[in-house]
Subunit: 355 residues, 2 copies
Amino acid sequence: MTRGVTLRDVAALAGVSSRTVSNVVNGYAPVSEAMRARVQKAVDELGYQPNVLARNLASGRSGQIAVVVPYLDTPYFAELSQGIIRAARVQGYNVLIDQTDGDAEHEKLFLSRRSQQLLFDGVIFSPLGLAQSDLGERDADLPLVVLGERVSDGGFDHIGIDDVTASREATEHLLGLGRRRVAAIGDQPYRTGEAAQLRTQGYRLAHERAGIPVREELVISTPRFNRSDGASAMAHLLDLEEPPDAVFCYSDLVALGALHTLAARGLRVPEDVAVVGYDDIEDARYSNPPVTTVSPDKKMIAETAVERLLKRIGSSTPVPGMEIRAPHRLIPRASTMGRQATDAAEWAVSPPHLH
Amino acid sequence: MTRGVTLRDVAALAGVSSRTVSNVVNGYAPVSEAMRARVQKAVDELGYQPNVLARNLASGRSGQIAVVVPYLDTPYFAELSQGIIRAARVQGYNVLIDQTDGDAEHEKLFLSRRSQQLLFDGVIFSPLGLAQSDLGERDADLPLVVLGERVSDGGFDHIGIDDVTASREATEHLLGLGRRRVAAIGDQPYRTGEAAQLRTQGYRLAHERAGIPVREELVISTPRFNRSDGASAMAHLLDLEEPPDAVFCYSDLVALGALHTLAARGLRVPEDVAVVGYDDIEDARYSNPPVTTVSPDKKMIAETAVERLLKRIGSSTPVPGMEIRAPHRLIPRASTMGRQATDAAEWAVSPPHLH
DNA sequence: TTGAAAGCGCTAACAC
DNA sequence: GTGTTAGCGCTTTCAA
């Protein structure tokens, strides 16, 4: 560990006080041009690098934010995290990623006092194991932005799309194609299944509006939103006496799992069964067939989350919690529209390089 | 920001010196049982939480490691990062994720002096934009573990699978199925394309051993290893006068892109064209058809990387660089074996929960 | 085994 | 504008 050059060394060389060096380095208070040039010269000469550890202690800030997601290898969260990292970097912040595996205890850690012991100034949180009510029991002055379906209680910001509307639109898309036995895969009728329940609500609403009764046996619950959940739920649906002619899946992964089962059973998509997903992950764009999906504006969610969090971090007075609705849209693809939907432009195909 | 309880407060309450409190808190030096109980009582009473920022400054360590990957939304890196985060947490380390977008300058930052200015004790690095030679120009005493295809120069550890062998085996698998026009997608015949070149080497080796000449027009270069690269390269191959009857893709994403094009052209996999991928990402297990792939032992890679890095961080004397070969295996699936390969056990299908 | 005290290197309140 | 200086809260050397 090479003994580093310190602020003091620079100050000595430049013949100024450390205060001035600090000002120059941080671009703070007004410093005369002559002064700043002199200091800069000394900085360059010595190759001075500020010690972040010391700066952190003195300033009480770490310059890091934590992103807490259930699973990093779930494409939706990976894409979201990627966007947050990009947005944070622009603001000079580093990002600490934490996976909770959906474990409620682990998630609580990040809301507790103990979090101050960790190394971040604020948290962007995508809860899975915690219900809305659990969010109330948190360290009051932890800058917090929550993503997903929980709702702000005034003490933090919440960003999410309108799940009920999005789900209603997705279901209406299927009903609009003339499908009459539309299944839903992904309901979670228990305390922490709030996200899933909103989607089920939208699914029911679409039926209601269309005057079509919901067949309860077509609403399938799954413990998670993974491929395997979709695969097994689809298998179950196909074993019904009257199988569905369409499925609304609560995630793209579920949809991919469903496609997998459909292919294994030799059924055609969308001719035999039309499939809609949710999240617009890249996988679902290249699957066979590509999946019609609800696309949340992930970039906007990531950027807004960082922006709001930094606002909280930077404010000494409490910032009132905001409810932020991110836009979404339904992207029709071949899994409901058939071949005609294949949109070449979406592939971003570039000419191959020859060897 | 609630003014926190400090070590001093605890010391005062317990009537001991701060040194003793520190020892107790950190489980350091021998402390008499009576003492530790007394201190612990004071700690509990005050709800003392050590300030990590201060600890870092005093100790010169941050307790964080950086994981530098090109893209977090690439499933392979997401899965790898997930494994590293898990392994690091067990050791009490946090993980900072950084994406470089494959940008060489950005990658260099992490090898430079400036890295000491950042907040981590060591780096697990998966280079993309940097070539082997660039790794030489790094801050000598930065604990570093490199993943992928670069080779250790003695100053860091390197962990990777044997790409040449894995690629040879993958190609031999196709040749063994009787395919005679085996294409390769993903070569990168330039300075930073070392990973790709090793795979091409294995591809050629398989042909050599089988006494089958390589058709140069079947070796396609791609700028990256994404779905779009695979899709366009496959399109190009199918437009050849004599299209291939099999393709070895340098990543699973490339393979998924190739499948996409094959499906769009109405070709059957594997009857018309057999496809092999590389990385064993989850997507490729659930695709239609599932993709035969080279599976590196990602868990082992992640755990070993953390273990080696912490060893470096903890050592005051230079640790000699190790070359570590992680195991790999070829997983045959339907994209080469046809329906027969569908391995139900692999899906981890659980019974659906009914509504 | 425990105490006293000197930093770690920087920030920022206060004075000039 | 610029200098002086007192911390930030912990670790750790040195004595006792």
